[in-house]
């Protein structure tokens, strides 16, 4: 049967090429169908483990990204005399780009390498960008994790040795109850959609806890509206109920967590609040030595943990023979949650008491009564053989809904503890790790600990980012002041494991802690939606000192599209799109591993680069060679790697280490994996295998990996980890206690400066506690009664897609969703123009009534509003007239205590940007006011080299209509 629809398409050269999507950070496998060399169609690769053939709205619109008129096609420099932000550029050659950068960066490197700062919006290329920064010698490097979701990474990894998204996730294949807390739609996109749908079809129960019912919450069996920033109170009350009702998994807690370990409670002692150690001297290594004590129920005396035949008390108080009072850490947890009753939490969260109790009971009863036993034999780290793997089928997922608050770290610690109490860690139906996780707590990477690590013409002596385990790991000067421009790993934000990108511009502008020379930004819109305090930050980017010199002397931006940020650049490097480049989703960074084993992936170009675009990777390799950075330079001083693909194949972490960016098809003939000599045909082998390498572990290594001897030894043999020691869950965090002790003046470690002592002592609590977000504490809640947050639209990724002709028709502008009753009380009708005002600024926007938001919250879609003329939209485009940017209302800093300096509006433990903490009020805009958003900025004009935007689009990919 032939299709009777005309017209038919003439035969044309058709080709299908496989690569990896990058319309968001999910990294699905795609097939790009080409016709006469043009993209005819992009669909999901059915043989790819992540998306199994499906694709999302963004992935299906890749064509419109590829051919968008907002593409930057030429290297550009700001015209002499033009103001930053005005977008007045002239074309230059790549040779001039490289010569300019090599000269400028060469001088910086030879004098003071920290004056070069490299910050990237994308953190799936950190293996290379981080290597470049380290080789350059600057400590001032990070990706965007600090403003994204570092609380989720740090809170979970410091507790269970793994976290959500790339590092692990809910096992919905086996779960019976799934609880999603806060917005998480963009991480992990298609795999989570596939999993939730299957889960629901299999009869699972899905509860969503979120101030807003949209996205995945829409199909939840139950929606539990909650006030933003109060999730910690809910989670602690649930823990209270689980313990009070005896619904915790005692066997799991005893063997796999530090619940039974005895804590020294002699408050005169330097070791107060630390676990009591046996006489065995502690090894200096990156794991928890097995030298702690239990109080054994059988012999009623202290024994070394996991002693054969022993069973510890989890509750009670005891006295050691030397008179030291001790308690098991579970006892301390129970005491901590004593007053965190459902009644208490109901007042804070707005969730009724009986709902909080029921949530706890549903979790506890499902975990216990629907227990799974899989016939998988495995051996634990203490040599005990198990015939089965047990699963307590309650799964959770959360991302930035919990993370983007200044109390997020402790909230997420509470979540990880709740998941552990239910006995769900790396078990069927619960949370499961993805390689290279689990890691020791904390993971072994460390930053340098003193400014001496930063020396001219020398690589940085340590990693720019790491995982502090005690105050001596901080990256600070002798007087306690920060070494890094973003103040990461300082006493202000000691566990800022992803850096604080959101502090960089403000700090560099103010010269606190110092001024820098060159700021290089890759793929981050820091003059718009990837910054807080946007209006002021834009001024800082163009601000000049008394000599008329820019306070941030040189700004380099690499991006594929013209944006609000590129307008502020001195130098613009036109990047390729994902269809035009090689890429490695590396085990050294954030691979795409599955629960069943490690997976890494590549991109292989499907199309030649457009215009004069060059991939940022090639720029780094070229600069590395020109600057003669050791890794990129051969022993005779010549260039070591021809290009990025050559680098990926031949680079080894150390000469002969056999560890490189890609884990698959290593060894001369591609016969090895994880570790092996470089294979000259590695790219071809990836190309033939759907652009992935997937190593499926034996079933006995797929679960309980924190304590699975077989898995840990496999992991050690394959150099995924250095130690095969068990990774006990930290219900009670000694790491946090060590910082608290330092703040209390105890012990021999470094001590915080006077003005930060109280802050460190308060927030470095070894057990999770609830406090109001810092901004809320500073806000008159009668004046600013509403919380304002954003949600993630599934058809857009951050600000990336307004230049996409199809996707922008789905989200052309954003409105502020207001609960109908809340709006009516203010006399605000559906569709009215209103002002939203915080302590820090105000924005005019359109209100939309909604029954799907709790009355104390207003919300909008993230990053739909644009500056006029940006992304090569016309200045009249809806995005810049009707749409608005909530970031104008959010401060990057909070006033400190009287006499103290300002601090970043961030979590005091991790430095996570607290952009979900803002409080606002709303009121009708005057009838005489313009019906468009405010503030407005002078419209950007297209830069040289860009294509003209058409007034009509009728895309037909290749071939001809007969």
């Amino acid at each position: 049967m032939s299709a009777a629809v005309a017209p038919e398409v003439a035969p044309a050269v058709q080709e299908i090429k496989k690569t990896t999507c990058y319309m968001c950070a999910c990294r699905c496998g795609i097939r790009v169908h080409l016709r006469d060399g043009q993209v005819r169609y992009i669909d999901g690769n059915p043989d790819h483990p992540l998306n199994q053939g499906v694709i999302c709205a963004k992935g299906s619109s890749g064509i419109m990204k590829q051919y968008s008129p907002a593409r930057l096609l030429k290297p550009l420099k700001r015209k002499a005399g033009a103001e930053r932000g005005a977008g007045d550029f002239e074309e230059i050659s790549w040779e001039e780009v490289y010569a300019t950068l090599a000269e400028r960066l060469g001088k910086i490197r030879a004098t003071d390498p920290k004056k070069f700062a490299l910050f990237t919006g994308r953190d799936q290329m950190q293996a290379l960008t981080g290597l470049f920064a380290r080789q350059f010698g600057t400590p001032n490097y990070a990706a965007h994790g600090g403003l994204c979701s570092v609380n989720m990474a740090a809170g979970m990894i410091y507790t269970i040795g793994g976290s959500f998204w790339e590092f692990g996730g809910p096992d919905l294949d086996r779960a019976k109850l799934f609880v999603m807390i806060g917005t998480a739609e963009d991480h992990h996109s298609n795999p989570l959609k596939i999993a939730i749908a299957k889960f629901k079809r299999n009869g699972g129960r899905f509860i969503s806890i979120n101030p807003v019912r949209t996205g995945y919450s829409a199909i939840a069996d139950e929606w539990v509206p909650i006030r933003p920033g109060t999730d910690g109170a809910l989670l602690l009350a649930i823990i209270h109920e689980l313990i009070a009702k005896g619904l915790y998994d005692r066997d799991f807690l005893v063997r796999y967590t530090n619940a039974g370990q005895l804590v020294n409670l002699d408050d005169k002692h330097d070791e107060f609040g630390m676990f009591v150690r046996t006489e065995v001297p502690q090894e200096e290594a990156c794991y928890d030595p097995q030298n702690k004590l239990w109080w054994d129920r059988i012999s009623n005396k202290p024994v070394i943990t996991h002693s054969e035949g022993a069973d510890p008390f989890l509750l009670g108080e005891f006295v050691l023979s030397d008179g030291t009072p001790v308690k098991p850490s579970f006892q301390l947890l129970q005491e901590r949650v004593q007053d965190y009753t459902p009644e208490w939490a109901a007042q804070i969260t707005g969730i009724p008491v009986d709902v909080i109790r029921r949530l706890a009971y549903e979790m506890g009863v499902t975990a216990r009564d629907q227990q799974i036993e899989l016939p998988i034999a495995w051996t634990d780290s203490w040599g005990k053989e198990h015939d089965t793997v047990t699963g307590n089928p309650v799964a959770f997922h959360a991302m930035r809904g919990l993370a983007a608050h200044s109390n997020g770290f402790h909230t997420i610690r509470a979540l990880a503890i709740l998941m552990s109490l239910l006995g769900t860690i790396d078990r069927p139906g619960g949370f499961r790790h993805k390689a290279p996780f689990p890691r020791p707590i904390p993971p072994c990477a460390r930053t340098p600990t003193s400014p001496l690590a930063v020396r001219p013409d020398t690589p940085l002596d340590g990693m720019a980012l790491g995982w502090p385990s005690d105050p001596d790991d901080l990256f600070i000067h002798e007087d306690g002041t920060p070494v890094r421009i973003d103040k990461a790993f300082s006493w202000e934000y000691p566990l800022s494991v992803h850096g604080l990108m959101h502090n960089v511009i403000t700090n560099a502008w103010r010269g606190d802690p110092y001024r820098i020379d060159t700021l290089m930004i890759f793929m981050s819109n820091m003059a718009w939606n990837s910054t807080m305090n946007t209006v002021e930050v834009r001024k800082m980017l163009n601000d000049k000192d008394e000599h008329g010199e820019h306070k941030i002397p040189f700004i380099v931006v690499c991006d594929a599209f013209q944006s609000e940020m590129t307008a502020f650049a001195d130098l613009i490097l036109p990047d390729t799109t994902y269809l035009e480049r090689h890429d490695a989703m590396s085990m050294l960074d954030r691979p795409i591993s599955e629960f069943d084993g490690p997976v890494d992936a590549v991109r292989i170009p499907v199309l030649p680069p457009s215009g004069e675009c060059r991939p940022f990777q090639e720029v780094l390799i070229e600069l590395g060679a020109r600057l003669k950075l050791p890794v990129f330079t051969a022993s005779d001083g010549s260039r070591k790697y021809r290009d990025y693909p050559d680098f990926i194949v031949n680079y080894e972490t150390e000469p002969g280490s056999g560890i490189g960016f890609l884990a698959g098809w290593r060894g001369r003939g591609g016969e090895k994996f994880m570790r092996g000599e470089p294979n000259p045909n590695q790219w071809e082998m990836y190309a033939k295998n759907n652009c992935i390498y997937h190593h499926e572990l034996p079933r006995s290594y797929q679960y309980m990996r924190n304590w699975n001897q077989g898995y840990l030894e496999w992991s050690q043999r394959n150099r995924i980890t250095r130690y095969a020691e068990p990774i006990l869950i930290h219900l009670y965090s000694e790491v946090l206690q060590k910082f608290r002790l330092a703040a209390q003046g105890k012990g021999i470690s470094r001590k915080p400066p006077e003005h930060l002592k109280q802050r460190v002592e308060t927030f470095f609590d070894p057990l999770p506690f609830f406090y109001e977000p810092l901004e809320t504490q500073l806000t008159d809640k009668h004046k600013y009664p509403l919380a304002a947050i954003t949600q993630r639209p599934m058809a857009m990724y951050h600000s990336w897609d307004s230049q996409n002709a199809w996707l922008r028709q789905i989200h052309t502008y954003n409105t502020l969703y207001v609960n109908t009753q809340t709006a009516r009380l203010q006399g605000i009708a559906d569709g009215d123009w209103i002002w939203v005002e915080s302590q820090w600024g105000k924005v005019r926007c359109m209100a939309q009534h909604s029954e799907a938001v709790e009355p104390g919250t207003v919300w909008t879609w993230n990053a739909i509003g644009k500056a006029a003329g940006a992304w090569n939209l016309t200045p009249e485009a809806n995005e810049s007239r009707q749409g608005f940017l909530l970031n104008h209302l959010i401060s990057d800093e909070l006033p400190g205590k009287p006499g103290a300096s300002r601090v970043s509006n961030s979590d005091p433990v991790t430095g996570q940007a607290a952009w979900y903490d803002v409080r606002v009020r709303i009121y009708k805009a005057g009838a005489e006011e313009a019906q468009e958003t405010s503030p407005q900025f002078e419209a950007l004009t297209p830069v040289p080299g860009m294509k003209q935007r058409p007034t009509w689009l009728a895309y037909f990919g290749g071939g001809k209509i007969k």
């Binding site: 629809v5 669909d43 299906s60 619109s61 939730i196 129960r205 509206p225 199809w806 028709q809 689009l953």
Partner: protein, 243 residues
């Protein structure tokens, strides 16, 4: 007689719009293309789509449902768009029930879009012809595609598998079973159009916990909780009576 159709499961549709753009992407470069977009980078961009997702709220806070509702041509068994067409461009295929438009005959008079009670026909403002969902008629019979891919683009794309495709006249088909077993319903049956496409409603899973399920025989507190023991020296009955 065959009647091909889509069955859309509102119980799992998360409103991600994958069906919307994958449809546009497939069809713009196919026999129905190009599907034009007016003012693609300007104010009020508007383009030709065969499939759109509408999102609406049902109920009042806090008893609110947010419904994502994908909508395309329903391929009615008695399509009101066909008899009104003055040129015979709109027609329903006997062999598989797909409602199509012959662009060579279409004069863009829009009668059909006025007649359609579901608002699923969209004029292509550039070509001035009426366009609509073809159920990817150029995919589903294409022998050059692997059999598993002879499905509409939206069905292939859908991450939650919320879109089922098949013959609603065949009682054993996946779509007929879904309609039968999961309460599938047509849109506005009162119009007598007999839409071939159906929707599956939201279904709720609940957990009933009986009170005695909370009194657990395996309660670990029996092990962990130590009830306080009185001091031996504290007074007791032994001190005051001998019985």
């Amino acid at each position: 007689m065959t009647q091909l159709a889509l069955v859309i499961d509102l119980n799992v549709c998360v409103g991600c719009h994958a069906c919307v753009t994958s449809c546009k992407e497939w069809n713009t470069s196919g026999p129905a293309g190009a599907m034009s977009d007016e003012r693609p980078y300007d104010v009020n961009p508007t383009g030709n789509f065969f499939n759109r997702v509408q999102t609406f709220e049902v109920g009042e806070f806090p008893n609110t449902e947010t419904v994502h509702f994908p909508k395309s041509c329903l391929h009615c068994e008695d399509p009101p768009c066909v008899p009104v067409c003055p040129t015979g461009a709109s027609y329903k295929r006997k062999e598989d029930g797909i409602v199509l438009v012959d662009y060579d005959k279409c004069i863009g008079c829009k009668y059909c879009s006025w007649a359609c009670p579901y608002g699923v026909r969209e004029i292509d403002e550039k070509q001035k012809v009426m366009k609509k969902c073809t159920l990817c008629v150029d995919r589903i019979y294409d022998q050059s595609l692997p059999e598993a891919e002879r499905k509409p683009a939206c069905v292939m794309a859908c991450p939650t598998s919320a879109r089922l495709f098949g013959d609603v006249h065949d009682p054993e088909s996946v779509v007929s079973k879904a309609i039968r077993e999961s309460g599938g319903y047509p849109l506005m049956p009162e119009w007598g159009t007999q839409p071939a496409n159906h929707y599956l409603p939201r279904r709720k899973t609940r957990l009933r916990i009986h009170e005695d399920e909370l009194e657990r025989t395996d309660n670990p507190l029996k092990i962990d909780r130590q009830l306080p023991k009185p001091d031996m020296a504290e007074p007791s009955l032994d001190d005051v009576t001998s019985w």
